[in-house]
Subunit: 399 residues, 2 copies
Amino acid sequence: MSRGRDSLDGSVPLAARARAVQPFHVMRLLARAHELEAAGRSIIHLEVGEPDFATPEPILAAGQRALAAGLTHYTPAAGLAELRRAIAGHYGRRYGVDLGPEHILVAPGASGALQLVFSALLEPGDRVMIGDPSYPCYRQVLRLLGAEPLSVPVGADSDFQLTAERAERAWSPGVRALVVASPANPTGSVLDARALADLHALCRERGAALIVDEIYQGLVYRVPDVTALALGLDDLYVINSFSKYFGMTGWRLGWVAGSVESIQVMDRLSQNLFIAANTPAQHAALAAFEPETLAILESRRLAFETRRDFLLPALRELGFRIPNRPDGAFYLYAGLPERVREDSMAFVTRLLEEVGVAVTPGHDFGDHAAGRHLRFAYTRDLDPLAEAVERIASFMERL
Amino acid sequence: MSRGRDSLDGSVPLAARARAVQPFHVMRLLARAHELEAAGRSIIHLEVGEPDFATPEPILAAGQRALAAGLTHYTPAAGLAELRRAIAGHYGRRYGVDLGPEHILVAPGASGALQLVFSALLEPGDRVMIGDPSYPCYRQVLRLLGAEPLSVPVGADSDFQLTAERAERAWSPGVRALVVASPANPTGSVLDARALADLHALCRERGAALIVDEIYQGLVYRVPDVTALALGLDDLYVINSFSKYFGMTGWRLGWVAGSVESIQVMDRLSQNLFIAANTPAQHAALAAFEPETLAILESRRLAFETRRDFLLPALRELGFRIPNRPDGAFYLYAGLPERVREDSMAFVTRLLEEVGVAVTPGHDFGDHAAGRHLRFAYTRDLDPLAEAVERIASFMERL
Ligand SMILES: Cc1ncc(COP(=O)(O)O)c(C=O)c1O
Ligand SMILES: Cc1ncc(COP(=O)(O)O)c(C=O)c1O
């Protein structure tokens, strides 16, 4: 390919909806962080949205066994029957929810699961209510599918979550679904059973579906670990994944729970969009629910809790505003101290350049007060966290 | 979940475009085949669209090493830099095409790659020309994205391929892209360098993009192994995958080659739709281009060639119409013998029930003469193939 060819000799422009997908700011920061590291600088990464832990040993071992056995062909689009049963069984054992495997469809990550639910539910032009801030892919994928995200600003007063009351006020014609995450990214906030029930009741009353993203399920600290599935499956879709609690981000394995009819439709969508999820990953994930694995996961959960209990007061001490204690995931969504006048984007850039701490600006998660917020991910151990706090402190002193 | 809940208590209907995605007929056949097998019947599976071979040993070993090393975190959305380099290098070594890694984006299968290319290129309402018959997911995924497949009947006279001449005749306003596969599913037919160049010239003249699905690349028998990338990358997208030639179907790993600008846009789409492809699979695939692996793949290619050379004359002998020798993939697309009056759907159902041979009816690949065609996949070894031919012969005698 000659150099000239790389650029725009082509006559077919790319689609506007594709070009409208903006890069995440954190990607530019990450690239810069890697440059600084290559130049010998020490960088502490608090921008990373995945556990620092590798996948637990029993899952790795099961994956290796699957490979040794040559289990490398396509699986059914809805996933291995044993895995669907294992996931359904997990809801029974851990959450007391009685659910058959026909309600579970295995997907390539919660990412794939979200795409399936959105595709199954939405016609072009349908509106979907989401909180602002929230996980950025919701609105991007919705737009790619021709649906319209209806972003509703949510603040510390509602723990950065859509409440039934707030959703009701913001309701508008054409809203066909509402998406919440619990625990949430970027805020770590958790919806309790009551808040979920109220949202579900509102949705049912308005003829909309409730989509609950439970990808951080299990990563909760001193609050009840709940699932929206306790509410049944009428107009309710639950998204989940082996990525976070189970430490399997790179394996690309998640699932969706829904009514049998919706699972059948999503099965056919999946045949066309994905064929199926990764086969060795599915065999490996069978080991995710073994007692030995669950013990490892529990100790990791406690490690995250300890980190949160260290980082939260330390950041507050430095003037960051985190009014309510975030009870889940591995994120703290912090308001910039009053006296900081610059935008969060400028702030995180300087923080990285000057003291080598990488965090994510609020802009990646929406527009509402995004310039005043940062996301800290405690996906690093206590020592680097302590070092990060010292570096941030020295940076703040110089402001 | 109580039984009543499983059905349609919910008030939110699924989207029409999702419900319009029809199940593949082969899925019903497969389910029936499994039932028969469970009841003790012997079934020969010639409906399976993936190699019977497991993934080659060196790739399995590399995957196991990746797991042992805990390489289980997310990769960049465009794929591991080493893998992008290895794929680009493969084009240089094998096809004499000089291509940088910035032209390659790793995706979750050719499936993921197709979705990215379609999403990057198409606005709602755009038309995309495809041959009928062709791989069914093209038209389903296009419709999900709001684009309009323009199916052009192609027959044995053009080797079941869109030619420039035929495409020109069928051209209509709003055609923004044209999709061909070479070698093709379901026909095994191969486009030579000249045919590709003519299609590309036509597309460029008309301001459309050419999308070439090369997923069966390498699986060609006594004809040149070519790539459309020899034509450059102006308005050209090449889809490929580790699934077929490399024997990695269940790993869900493919790629797309395109202009740098398009790769950058698809990178951002991928961040949102997929996050990335499976990590252990990407590390494993680095071993796909090693001499040891390539030697295994070459011996498998020869095995497929031997099977084709057995099955093609045997089916012709039985009266199936396969005018031109299919030169690639592992499929024979056969016209029913004149004297068979029933539809291919009825024929394959009886073939399965009466003599335990499973093949795919033409209906899964389009509408054009679908009732008169079957797809035989030679993804079984010579012994079962010979047994299948005997069973089909005895079935035909009784017709
Ligand atoms: C809230 C939320 N949902 C979904 C995802 C997608 O994760 P995956 O596709 O790895 O399951 C993420 C990943 O960060 C997330 O934070
Ligand atoms: C022509 C063609 N393209 C694309 C695919 C998708 O394959 P994968 O997603 O496994 O790479 C297939 C699978 O059968 C195919 O036959």
